[in-house]
Assembly symmetry: C2
Homo-oligomer: 432 residues x 2
């Protein structure tokens, strides 16, 4: 007997070998997909009738700072220095471990509601984010942020904590948690420190999550300091490889793109955050054309201000069309790949596709809504018309986290109230 059968669904497998099934069945057992087809002879404890619905792989958010949900709408429409120095950093300086837990739990709740089944996070008090992931049932690749700032002592302390975290949580929560090293960025960590992190990561078999060329300021600072940009510096010290997740990558030259491709680096594109902070427009169209693995991230809620990857998919599709003056750039299926398979390639290749043997991370969208009517082409609707709020069911590792809009794993009211309270206290501390 299987655990879950989903029937009568339009199945967007994202598997090029099988394509879509217009009316099919997915069978889940022991956390994995065991059958996909028109019908099944299996029976299961849980049978979900997905008539008028689409089943697809859960979305993968490859760059966020979950606990920053506490800063949602706290500081907007400001110059970068005022935003960071006047608001975000003072608030972060007062953030307690408990705050990080509450903010991360709120993020998990929001992701479950909007169809994200796994995410990559870099922040601090990361034990708390890991606990929130454990409690929520989501999948995540977590890293403790290492900000050396050319201070050897701080670098050592950060690296020690990063190492402890990597080892403490690797494979936890039934394998749902992976850990990575999280050196903040090439303009906040020295060359030597970055080389050391690379070494430790290789020894521990952990990936690396890093911000790369988010702003022009980083590009200029790197040229000034090293006479070369971040990508060239990282390549020269042997930092890159297919276990590296590089967030943003806005200010890339064609040569940089070639390096990222050659080294198999995974890029997380954060269209909304880059637009909101006016960082610039990443050359996503070029990267995809050259074969770089580009996935999608929301960044933290202070620069977005939500975690809805459906919004991120639409915005990315629109931005690169207008930026390249080509309405054929980033078509719907390609954007869906970025949101699913490409993200999975970066975080966990056993997810991101509905295929026998893959881990059962999937979502069900309710398509019988005015803004999804009529329906000619499901991929187009998922990218251009749907919202996170159309997700009715979220399943991770074969467990139902939300069923027909009801979150089963968290006390939703309590999570919201505690986050609201923590955020209010935090701001009153900043203002005190």
């Amino acid at each position: 007997m299987a655990d879950i059968i989903i029937k009568n669904a339009y199945i967007l497998t994202m598997d090029p070998d099988t394509g879509d099934l217009k009316n099919g069945t997915v069978v889940i057992e022991d956390g994995r997909i065991t059958e996909i087809g028109e019908k099944t002879s299996e029976s299961a404890e849980t049978v979900i009738d997905a008539k008028h619905s689409v089943v697809m792989p859960g979305l993968v958010n490859t760059h966020t700072h979950a606990a920053m949900t506490l800063f949602r709408g706290y500081a907007d429409d400001l110059q970068l220095s005022d935003w960071l120095e006047g608001h975000i950093w003072p608030a972060e300086a007062r953030l307690t471990a408990q705050d990080v837990y509450k903010g991360s739990l709120l993020a998990c709740l929001e992701m479950i509601r909007s169809g994200t089944t796994s995410f990559a996070d870099m922040y601090f008090h990361m034990d708390e984010t890991a606990k929130a992931v454990e409690a929520s049932g989501l999948r995540a690749s977590l890293s403790h942020g290492l900000i050396e700032l050319w201070n050897e002592e701080k670098g050592e302390a950060d690296l020690k904590e990063g190492r402890r975290f990597v080892r403490a949580w690797q494979g936890a929560a039934n394998g749902r948690i992976k850990t990575m090293y999280g050196p903040h960025a090439p303009n906040t960590c020295s060359e030597e420190f970055l080389a050391k992190v690379r070494e430790e990561a290789s020894r521990d078999g952990a990936g690396i999550h890093i911000h790369v060329l988010e702003t022009e300021a980083e590009l200029l600072a790197m040229k000034e300091r090293y006479g070369k940009c971040s990508v060239h510096l990282l390549d020269d010290i042997g930092f890159f490889g297919p276990d590296v997740l590089a967030a943003h990558c806005v200010w890339l030259s064609d040569g940089d793109i070639e390096i990222l491709r050659k080294r198999g680096v995974n890029v997380s594109h954060n269209a909304i955050s880059n637009m909101k902070l006016a960082s610039g427009i990443a050359p996503v169209h070029k990267m995809l054309e050259k074969g770089v693995n580009v996935s999608l991230g929301t960044d933290g809620c202070a620069s977005n201000n939500n975690l809805d990857l459906f919004e991120e998919m639409k915005t990315a599709a629109l931005l690169h069309k207008v930026n390249t003056f080509s309405p054929t750039a980033l078509p719907a299926r390609q954007v869906l790949e970025m949101g699913t398979v490409n993200g999975a390639k970066a975080l966990d290749p056993e997810t991101g596709m509905l295929k026998v043997g893959k881990k059962a991370d999937l979502i069900i969208l309710d398509m019988k809504k005015p803004h999804l009517t009529p329906c000619f082409d499901v991929p187009s609707h998922l990218v251009y018309s749907a919202k996170g709020s159309d997700v009715r069911t979220t399943i991770v590792n074969g467990k139902v986290l939300m069923d027909n809009y009801r979150v089963l794993v968290l006390d939703e009211q309590k999570v919201m109230e505690e986050a609201q309270k923590a955020a209010a206290e935090l701001v009153s501390k900043v203002n005190a």
Copy 2:
């Protein structure tokens, strides 16, 4: 006794004289707002408890083609010529009056659900769109599209139908329907025809809705034909005035912006459509700086692909930040003005603001949701975090169209089914 009292609400009035009320009451009688304050001594038949909710003016969509909901997702990610000539025009050629009714009704349903209370439309079979507006309870400014194409006979016939429509529906549906003349664009109508339309509109006291400089192709064609751009041509023939609604205005020079300002022309900015069709980025920041009245439009569903003005607000705020490299461009309150008061100025200045004496077009958003938690700043949340699906209640002209997510004025399932059926038949006719 009043008709409706909304209490315990955060009231975003958009009235600079009063500002926001953190916990207030709105009283509605005979279709108008009769009281706004902390409390009221009035009683009413309908009392809405808006705890944890925000009350704000309904959003105003200043450029759409409602019936094009039938083409939602029918043709995406194509070159403009293929999109228009290969898909949209062949489908439009087969569109019946009944189709326009069904598509328009679906659009009205979607707008009610996503918090839009009035819209400007230019299309054909406009009696049907007017009937849909009448049935749905929304407010609209409607025009029959006039596409002369330098064919005198066609111009005459179009103008005759446009004139008939203007006179037949002006002030209909209890004043909820206004009519306008709808000359398609300066590159699809001759100079003489545009001058004649201007004359007729002035005589009938009707406004004019026109596409202006949506594409670079229009700019180049105008320069070729007239040696000047659309804005200069229209100004030279005395076309402009505060009763003109110009959609898109992407390819404007600084001189064009000065003309639009001087003539008091209302501009409808369609960020998502301009991005999706790769038309370009309108100089919205400059227009606002110079004092041009810029509002927001979704355009038709074939180039968006939904009618959610919350998405449009966020996208406009993001696009102009990144395009001007300024994170302070288009701050949340200004974008809310574009979505409400600026749109109302273009279509009906008695709406767009919560103020005693104004028509009661307003919406209530449910703020107790994970993606709207915590809440420091309501305007920020409305622009950067909220979605159309957070609207729980929609009131137009003092009538409740949707109450707590339940649409009261239309049979939602029937509207969706009929639109789906009409769209499927239409496409099978195109493919036949």
